[in-house]
């Protein structure tokens, strides 16, 4: 499967990835509407750690044997057996935080969406759960600190 890899030596802490992610995961998919009208509604699923001195973009690693999926009590968190993409179904998730407590990277967070606290994580910008899309964070990165490349293994358990 294709995975997003962050290369911290090129990360410049601009957080354009966060903006692009948040906009794509908004209702309108329009930056101005997403930020000015939808307010805190849309959430980004990539987070830049650190400061300009050293920074690192973090999103889901789509693990071979994901701890978040193992721990999910609602079945919302799943690894698609064909694509290897790990996604959370926002309707089934109850926000119990088990996934966030098991993810070794902090790449799953619990945030409020439409009045409910649910798990938020990278879905590779697929239009449907488990489907790969064109990750907007990678496109928005000005410095190839995020690359979307064919990885070597780990698609299936």
């Amino acid at each position: 499967m294709k995975r997003i890899y962050a290369l911290e030596r090129w990360c410049i802490d601009c957080k354009r990835c966060e903006v692009a992610c948040r906009v794509f995961h908004s209702k309108s998919r329009d930056a101005v509407r997403a930020y000015r009208i939808e307010g805190d509604g849309p959430k980004n699923r990539i987070w830049v750690e650190g400061t300009c001195a050293a920074s690192l973009a973090l999103n889901c690693r789509h693990c071979a044997d994901p701890a978040c999926v193992q721990g999910c009590i609602s079945g919302a968190m799943q690894k698609n057996p064909e694509t290897g993409i790990v996604t959370v179904d926002p309707h089934r998730c109850v926000g119990c935080r088990t996934c966030a407590t098991l993810c070794p990277f902090g790449a799953v967070r619990i945030e409020e969406v439409a009045g409910r606290e649910i798990a938020i994580k990278c879905d590779l910008c697929g239009e449907r759960l488990g489907e790969a899309g064109e990750p907007r964070c990678v496109a928005a990165c000005p410095n190839r600190a995020l690359i979307y490349v064919e990885s070597e293994g780990g698609s299936h358990e």
């Binding site: 601009c14 903006v19 000005p142």
Partner: protein
């Protein structure tokens, strides 16, 4: 005394588009932008803006543009706002005004007054997509007589060391110190891919770049930073820098705070100590002295590498070039007064030297008149902006060109002329780790390669149009040029006829 130095620029933020994401704030090393969450607004400290346009480019909603500060002039053509601001600055500080990049003043640009020829009826033009079109050039002294063994089809004459350029463009000298290692690496990688050369400048040759040595020109300048026998042998050509177009007659000064551990190691000078390049080479006071240095360098490189001498285009440049050729240089580089720099006193940059077009034509003519043109190659430098400038330079007598500003622009440079601050937001003219990181050399190299490849295609198109199938046939072929709007004297120095003639 109360004195208000006006901001030069005003940050125009379209509030309808601004999403307060803070990308501009995090991207500006000059600390212009600030997200004020209490005001729910992004504010700008206009006075700090240098118009590098980083924020304009990175803003996710393109909400930003930079405009001139709106303060109106007093109407005087003599005491302009700019002049008066300079006076105010100097009245405050007592300091020399520094600036960077090339001469911005509205001097005539002769390139733009020279038009190219094309074939019609009597001589066919050539389609470069169907026919071979040679853009390869060799730099260095040619043998006086070429002897060939026709039976064995071999060259008998001893061939002197030459540089092979697959494209007639090299990247001019920019030192590690004046630009970042990543910027140098991008140029080095591009040079390797394009089959041409980058130039280390006078700042030594960083170990990380030594693997690109076969595509490097190593420079020996008045400060002799980083020069030892390994350095001389690490490149493909050695270049003695006598002068620089942007600041003829003066040296350089890299302040101690910019001498980081890496720069110190590469320049072979103490960390934190000022790096002073003297105005002259203290061992060169005559053509004979220059000859000594040229041959010392040839000796040190076992006569395996050509030696170039770079001079600034100044008043007497043709005679100087003649002397340089006779001093044993294999390549003469002439750098015009629009050439860039990392830092120079503005008074020098803006007023000293002459345009490279005139210098180039004068040198080529002088060397021909003295029958020594083939003993030396001629490289033109100092604001080559496009493929057309290259074609014009070659038609005026250059073998190839050096360019730096254009590849830097390909790397992101927006010509803000603030290189000397060391806070280049594009990761080019800076040594600050967080800023250097902004230039991923892989991307930079791809862009520079794209630029030069595009230029080379255009050169082939123009050559074909002129009915030429090799760039060699264009060299000094001034019949391919016509001047427009130039006076007799200019035309005569350029050695071209007026359009219509």
């Amino acid at each position: 005394m109360l004195d208000y130095l006006l901001p030069r620029y005003k940050v125009m933020r379209d509030d309808d588009l601004c999403i307060r994401c803070g990308v501009c704030e995090r991207s500006c090393s000059n600390e212009v932008h600030r997200v004020d969450s209490e005001l729910d607004r992004v504010t700008a400290n206009h006075a700090k803006c240098v118009n590098c346009q980083r924020c304009v480019v990175v803003c996710p909603t393109h909400a930003l543009a930079i405009s001139k500060w709106p303060q109106v002039n007093n109407g005087s053509n003599n005491w302009t706002l700019e002049t008066m601001q300079d006076i105010a600055k100097q009245a405050q500080t007592g300091a020399v005004l520094l600036s960077s990049m090339g001469n911005p003043k509205p001097y005539p640009i002769y390139w733009d007054r020279l038009l190219l020829n094309a074939s019609q009826v009597t001589n066919p033009s050539i389609d470069p997509l169907r026919e071979p079109m040679e853009t390869r050039v060799f730099l260095g002294r040619r043998p006086d007589v070429l002897r060939v063994n026709e039976r064995e089809r071999t060259v008998v004459s001893k061939m002197l060391p030459q540089l092979r350029l697959d494209v007639p463009v090299m990247f001019s000298a920019m030192s590690f110190g004046s630009i970042s290692l990543n910027a140098q690496m991008a140029l080095a990688m591009a040079a390797e891919e394009l089959g041409t050369y980058f130039n280390t400048g006078e700042g030594g040759f960083h170990q990380a770049l030594r693997k690109y040595g076969s595509h490097a020109v190593v420079q020996v300048a008045s400060g002799r930073f980083g020069v030892d026998v390994d350095y001389l042998n690490a490149g493909a050509m050695v270049e003695i820098k006598i002068g620089q177009g942007a600041k003829p007659g003066i040296g350089g000064h890299l302040p101690g705070e910019k001498i980081s551990a890496e720069v110190s190691r590469t320049r072979m000078i103490p960390e934190g100590a000022d790096a002073i390049s003297p105005a002259p080479h203290h061992d060169i006071y005559s053509i004979e002295d220059l000859r000594q240095l040229v041959y010392s360098l040839k000796e040190a490189t076992r006569y395996e590498k050509p030696v170039a001498v770079k001079i600034a285009a100044v008043h007497n440049v043709a005679a100087i070039a003649s002397g340089v050729a006779r001093a044993g240089a294999d390549v003469i580089v002439v750098d015009g007064f629009r050439g860039g720099t990392g830092a120079a006193p503005a008074c020098i940059r803006d007023n000293v030297g002459i345009p490279v077009e005139l210098a180039l034509a004068a040198i080529d003519q002088r060397l021909r008149d003295e029958s020594i043109r083939s003993s030396v190659s001629l490289v033109a430098a100092g604001s080559i902006r496009s493929s057309v400038d290259i074609v014009r330079a070659i038609a005026l007598g250059a073998d190839a060109v050096y360019c730096a500003s254009a590849p830097l622009i390909a790397l992101g440079c927006h010509q803000c002329q603030d290189c000397s601050s060391g806070k280049c937001n594009w990761g080019i003219a800076t040594q600050r780790d967080d800023l250097v990181r902004r230039l991923n050399p892989e991307i930079g190299a791809e862009r520079v390669v794209n630029l030069v490849r595009a230029w080379n295609h255009e050169i082939q198109e123009m050559l074909g149009g002129m009915g030429l199938n090799a760039i060699d046939s264009l060299r000094g072929n001034r019949a391919m040029l016509r001047g427009v709007g130039l006076n007799e004297k200019e035309l005569s120095i350029l050695g071209v006829k007026h359009a219509g003639e």
